[in-house]
Amino acid sequence: MARVLAILRALGRAYRRDQRSLESVVGNNFFLVTALLLQNAGGFIYLLIGVVLLFPLSTDPLRKVPASRLALWPIEAAERRLLRALSPWVNPVSWVVAGLAVWAIRGKVTFGLWAAVAGLALAAFLLSDLPFTPGPAVWLHVPQFPGRWNQLIRKNLREMVCTLDFYCAGTVSLCGLICRSIGLRLPPEAFVAMTVLVALALSSYAESLFGLDGAGGLARYRLLPLAGWEILAAKDVAFLAIAIPLTLPLAPLAGLAAALAALTMGHAPTVNRPLPQTRWRFSTGAGLIFGMLHAGFMAMAACSVYFSSRLFLLPLIAAWAGSIWYYGRRLDRASA
């Protein structure tokens, strides 16, 4: 029993320290801005936040122990079973589900709500035990690009689709596509708003373009005979290769404008304050104030192109090119 308790205590400590899923949502532009701006109208977004938080938090705590280590520990079969039975209670979500069950019995919440939360938590718990590693079959089929940045762009694309931001943007884009497909008559403003939401969902990633490269990747950038602007350009091409198709069913030119705005402003924190990111989580942005300004700039860019003139794309392209040149030089100086 002492051994099991020691392991459970260690699991508890590891669990408390791993607050990444919570932090990533707290620092993500999409959730920050939509929660602040939509307020009462943002029910769907709040539901999304709840699901997003609940899902990663519901993972099996025993996963935190490396399988090889667990197999090597001199614990007996009965202790292993005890560990299996007790470890889920290290997770606070289990206590929430248990608390909701008590409330449901007392009639304070409906059994339906309890069943929905418990089902979601159970699904996340069971899914987290499945060996899910994206196999080569999926990621090898990233398209080729012309030029010497080809492999860098492909790598950046793979990184981007390993963030939940991409799937969040994809969900909004899919909603727009469904609306168009079934002929639902939405006002044109709705498509611009959805376009901005797509750009917003991707904007936190634009603020930390090197977040998933890791120490090894960053060291390699410094060894490659490439100028800083080329490294940033390879990142931006990958970003645009995702953002443009996602905004195609909505307002494509406004989407391009918003994506360029996202990159133009995103270069500053990317180079000045690089934040490491975690795969299969939402990207953490540069902060609330920066996120609000970033969202405002993207909305302005999208609206001016959509409602005023397509010519607004020209100054946006110029600003983006200027930003890539300036921050490319900063990158060169930082690595010298």
Binding site: P136, R148, Q151, R158, G214, R220, L226
Partner: protein, 247 residues
């Protein structure tokens, strides 16, 4: 080919490298030896432009390292301490990336990549993502990346660690061959037997200072014994509890 004068690197109060002066000739295999934390990797980082020196000057391939970083990168091949691999690229894609950014034609890159993958027994794992590779495979990939552009100088940080004996032998032979063709090889290692076999210059560093610099023939005794005498002698403490009872 490699020359540094009074090279110093300070980290706040700690002096990692202290006024090192060193010359490595074209076609030499310079083995840089020293205990952990002696300043080997810091020196290698400064020689390759990855870390700015606090003071002193460095010339590699006739270029001032701090003044011409981009041109320097085009002329050297590096196997860095952390290998510098992208988790999201396969072994093969790392080599294709290297060829593309160093201006090697596609056909030539493919041919060189195939030869290197074959020589380093990496053919079966060529479509494996670096993030899923074993440490040995990652090291071999980084080694192949350093060789692929056919650089004029090679800088290798502990290339033989975690490598199987057969591949280690192949790597040693490759290094000796390229050195004969005029490529300068600068490597750090803890494996003294390998160092003894390939070195044409032995440099030992302790506490950031060079304590020995000569051709292997000028060593007064075996490399291992000289290393123990000069750099650090192994002191084996008897841990009495080891093996005495069940824990």
């Amino acid at each position: 080919m490699i020359a540094c004068r009074n090279l110093t690197r300070r980290f706040v109060d700690f002096v990692a490298v202290n006024r090192i002066t060193l010359d490595v000739a074209k076609g030499a295999v310079c083995v840089f030896l020293g205990p952990n934390g002696a300043g080997k990797s810091t020196t290698l980082k400064m020689l390759t432009g990855l870390l700015a020196p606090t003071s002193g000057s460095i010339t590699v391939c006739g270029l001032d390292v701090t003044a011409n970083p981009l041109e320097l990168k085009r002329r050297i091949g590096v196997l860095p301490e952390d290998l510098g691999l992208f988790d999201d690229l396969t072994v093969d894609e790392h080599l294709l990336l290297t060829g593309a950014v160093y201006g090697v034609s596609k056909r030539e890159t493919r041919a060189r990549a195939n030869q290197l993958l074959h020589a380093l027994s990496l053919e079966d794992g060529r479509r494996t993502f670096a993030g899923a590779c074993s440490h040995g495979m990652r090291k071999k990939t980084a080694f192949a990346m350093a060789l692929l552009p056919s650089p004029r100088a090679l800088f290798l940080d502990e290339p033989f660690e975690a490598i199987d004996p057969v591949t280690s032998r192949i790597m040693r032979d490759l290094l000796v061959t390229v050195a004969r063709r005029g490529v300068t090889v600068f490597l750090t290692s803890h494996i003294l037997s390998v160092a003894e076999q390939i070195a044409t210059q032995v440099v030992m560093i302790r506490n950031g200072k060079i304590v020995w610099n000569s051709p292997p023939a000028a060593l007064p005794q075996s490399l291992e014994q000289h290393y123990f005498d000069l750099v650090e002698a192994p002191v084996v403490e008897d841990l009495k509890w080891l093996g005495s009872s069940q824990s």
